[in-house]
């Protein structure tokens, strides 16, 4: 067993699917599901040793991957959401070999993103998610998919281009793009000095240079997360993609940005973060509020949930911005960072469950997904209503379910670090409850629409999937330690970098 096995395993499955031209749609689906479940198992058990391949060794560029506790958490999330999405796409008549192969390629890339220790392999995998997700939206999406996919691709590529150029400046001045080496240099306050020395001709101070680079890198993450105003690609892409693909987009692709902000952005740019923190903080607060307000104004169920994702991930951005301020005590910082990890994991599970539910509505409703198209479903499909309601309540942060703990920790941390932003963002929490409950009311409560009178309740397979997802929502809600145990060593490492104990 070796980390390379974990990372390459899904890709192998994709190649196999690609070569088996005679495979039936059903066979391909079953194969992909089994393969994704196996890679989930591999992700749980992959060892912590390092996988290193020389790339351009004379410049210190190597493809290095290592699984630590935090990565493992995200690997498990990846394995879970991918398996969930493949299972959800089994009933889709159009999703065949190509669809599943692309999903598996994406899984390999995500595994790589969550374990890479050097910029080059990380960026390789980060960009490798782009083509499969573009194709999945473009080829299996709805009528507006071509435009949505193009916009998604170009905006993401645009963010990445600036991120890449920024990091290459660090390679030139610091002589390395290894994340932990860059983090150490930053902790010793040497990064600004190195930049000032390399770019002495420009006449700018090292601090200004590093701030420019930090903003360029942040842009890359901000598009992916997304942070307002870089979210313009998101609603259309989430709405036009078929529901299983949206599960991947919201459950995993946005988490790449959260992970990147935590593991790369905070440690590497710690020297200039206090100066940037107010900007990042207000952007995050705007994301929380505008995401919620926009969700209130939507009538398309998928778009409501899309903006709800913007809103929920805004909390992660908020916690990161608060941590960037570098004030306050260690415990508040620890709360904010742990909250970010939990929020990322739990949002991944909850949002993919919600989109799974919307997918069921969409397929039974022959493509309808307007807020007014449904009503009173509780009477016809009580089991569905129960499972979906549970996910909705988890999403709006009901204590005891998993959505609560992340937001609670984030607010506990942010209040101590930057109270003003916390107060503004807490409005977002109220609005979240309003639009989510409105959705519940319109779809499930009230009088039953006559056109829905013959709707069947969930099939056994759908019940099984919902049941598993509910377990994934309930257990971390009741025992958050299950997740925190994995993340803690990495969070303490990050704390030591950001706020060394005297």
């Amino acid at each position: 067993m070796h980390p390379s096995h974990t990372i390459l395993f899904p890709l192998l499955g994709a190649v196999w699917l690609g070569c088996r031209t005679g495979m039936s749609r059903k066979g391909a689906g079953r194969f992909a599901l089994v393969w994704a479940l196996l890679s989930l198992l591999l992700a749980c058990g992959s060892p912590g040793e390092e996988w290193l391949l020389p790339w351009m060794p004379d410049a210190g560029m190597n493809l290095s991957f290592r699984v630590d506790g935090l990565s493992r958490l995200f690997l498990v999330l990846t394995g879970f959401v991918v398996s969930f999405a493949i299972a959800a796409s089994l009933r889709d008549e159009r999703a065949g070999r190509g669809h599943h192969a692309l999903v598996l390629v994406m899984q390999s890339a995500l595994f790589g993103v969550f374990t890479a220790r050097h910029f080059i392999p990380w960026f390789l995998c980060w960009e490798m998610t782009l083509i499969p997700s573009y194709l999945l939206i473009r080829l299996w999406g709805g009528a507006g998919a071509p435009k949505a996919a193009l916009r998604f691709f170009i905006m993401t590529l645009g963010g990445s281009a600036f991120l890449l150029v920024g990091f290459l400046a660090l390679q030139l001045s610091a002589g390395t793009m290894d994340f932990s080496e860059l983090g150490k240099l930053a902790a010793d306050k040497q990064l600004t000095a190195a930049l000032a020395k390399t770019f002495a001709a420009s006449g700018l101070s090292g601090h200004t240079l590093l701030s420019i680079i930090a903003l360029a890198v942040f842009l890359g993450f901000a598009v992916k997360l997304p942070v307002v105003p870089f979210h313009a690609w998101l609603p259309a892409a989430y709405a036009e993609a078929p529901a299983p693909v949206t599960m991947l987009l919201t459950g995993l692709l946005s988490k790449m940005a959260v992970y990147g902000l935590l593991v790369i952005f905070l440690p590497v740019f710690s020297e200039v973060l206090p100066a940037l923190a107010p900007l990042l903080g207000w952007l995050a607060a705007a994301t929380v509020l505008l995401g919620a307000l926009a969700a209130l104004a939507q009538t398309d169920l998928k778009r409501i949930l899309a903006y709800s994702s913007v809103n929920h991930l805004g909390y992660c951005a908020l916690a990161i911005a608060a941590a960037a301020a570098m004030q306050g005590d260690r415990s508040a910082l620890a709360a904010a960072l742990s909250g970010t990890v939990l929020q990322a994991f739990n949002h991944g599970v909850i949002a993919s469950t919600l989109f799974f539910g919307i997918g069921i509505l969409e397929s039974r409703g022959k493509g309808r997904r307007g807020l007014g198209d449904f009503g009173g479903l509780r009477a016809r499909t009580p089991v569905f209503c129960g499972f979906f309601g549970l996910a909705v309540f988890a999403s709006l942060g009901l204590p005891g379910l998993s959505g609560f703990i992340g937001e609670f920790l984030i607010f506990a941390g942010v209040f101590a670090l930057t109270p003003a932003m916390a107060v503004v963002s807490i409005l977002g929490l109220l609005l979240t409850a309003v639009f989510l409950l409105r959705m519940m009311r319109k779809v499930f409560w009230g009088p039953l629409k006559p056109s829905l009178a013959d709707w069947p309740d969930l099939t056994g397979f759908e019940r099984l999937l919902f049941g598993l997802a509910t377990a994934m929502i309930a257990i971390p809600g009741l025992f958050p330690q299950v997740l925190l145990r994995f993340a803690n060593p990495a969070i303490i490492e990050l704390l030591d970098l950001l706020r060394p104990t005297p």
């Binding site: 020389p54 083509i131 890449l164 290459l168 390679q171």
Partner: protein, 494 residues
Amino acid sequence: MTPTWTISSAFAGALLVLLPPARMAGSARIIALAASLVGMIAAALSCLARLNHPDAPVWRFDAPWIPCMGIRFHLAADGLSLTLLLLTGLIAVAGVLFSWNVEKRPRAFFAWFLTIIGGVYGVFLSRDAFLLFVCYEIVILPKYMLIAIWGSTNREYGAMKLTMYSIGASALILIGLVAAYAAAGATSFDLLHLAGADYPAAMQAWAFPVLFLGFAVLAGMWPFHTWAPTGHVAAPTAASMLLAGVVMKLGAFGALCVAMPLFEQGLGLWKPLIAGLAVVGIVYGALTALAQKDLKFVIGYSSVSHMGFVLLGLAAANHWGLRGAVLQMISHGVIAGLLFGIAGRVVYERTRTRDLAALRGFDLWRSLPGAAVAFTLATAASMGLPGFSGFVAEISVIVGLWKVYPWLTVGVAIGIIITGAFSLRALQKTCFPARPPADAATAPPLPPLTWPEISAIGLLLAVSLAIGIYPKPWVVLIDDGLRSPLFQSILPLP
């Protein structure tokens, strides 16, 4: 197999394909394939040998040629030349495979084709400026013939424009070379001798731009690039592959190995302008490609954009920049060859159209899935996604650029984004239907990919991926070449 096998196999092949009688004209392609395979294998083996024995003396062949003028037949194969030989060999093999179905006068076609290949091998191996110039000129006539006889859209115009540009550029090169020869004592055309001579600053100030421009025209430097798109479009598939894949590299190679080492002070004077033009070329080429209606024009303008990276690396004139420039020469050679092969042979020969709007109706994703997958991967490679060769080259150039002109990196980032946009637009319009089809596909069935096509696509894609995932051997070879005494004045050894 010594590197001479490359040149001799190409020229021998060019003669041999003329031998079979008219009724067996089809066998010409087998001879051509054999000849180009020999060249490619010789180049690959020489590369491996160089990697295994990096400290061995560089292979060279040095014999007097025109003694009264001090002109020698001087060939040498350091790592830089070897990688470019390998690129030429790859493009030659892929070009023959993509031309498998040429029915019109196949013997003459492959004879001209192999003559170009031989001339290109000669340029990459020459260490004597005169010999290099002769090989450079050998390429011009066959280019004209290939386009004018076997070409398509606007072929006479494209061929003539290309030839005029080439001859004009050659005149500039000749002026620069003769000036250097006279100023260095009129005793030798040897590149090392010319590079070692001391030229007055005033002369460098005018001779450098003359010589550099002469070469840069062929490398597609904006605003002297206009021959490239029309030439690429007019040419038959194999000739487009050669033009974009290796002929443009001749210009870049000349600029790197002749113009820059000879007049290093002139380089210092002019390089801000070159860098600026290169960035304009990157952005302009990409924007123009965004507006094209013909698939081959998209690829033609993308070549201009990609060659901008080569010129940018040259203008940076530091280790990262030069290494990136050579990597981009190889990477673009492979990727442009692949794109032209798919667009010109695989798609056009089946659909008989290159119009992006018309191609939508064919819904290639369903009617020709193999080509659609190949084109998707080639597009990903072309937009410089990591894992493919373009990425390695681009980051090297950008690191080199940060060192000298940090502000230009913003222009490059914008260029990368527009490159993404036009590549994706071409991909969308070529392979995917206008909207996701609700009902069963109406696309007419197209003949599936043939084996020569599959092997050519596989070969080029594999090389691009190999460079992207494991660039080390290529970088080692290129660095070996950059350590040559020729570049001492630009890149002093630490």
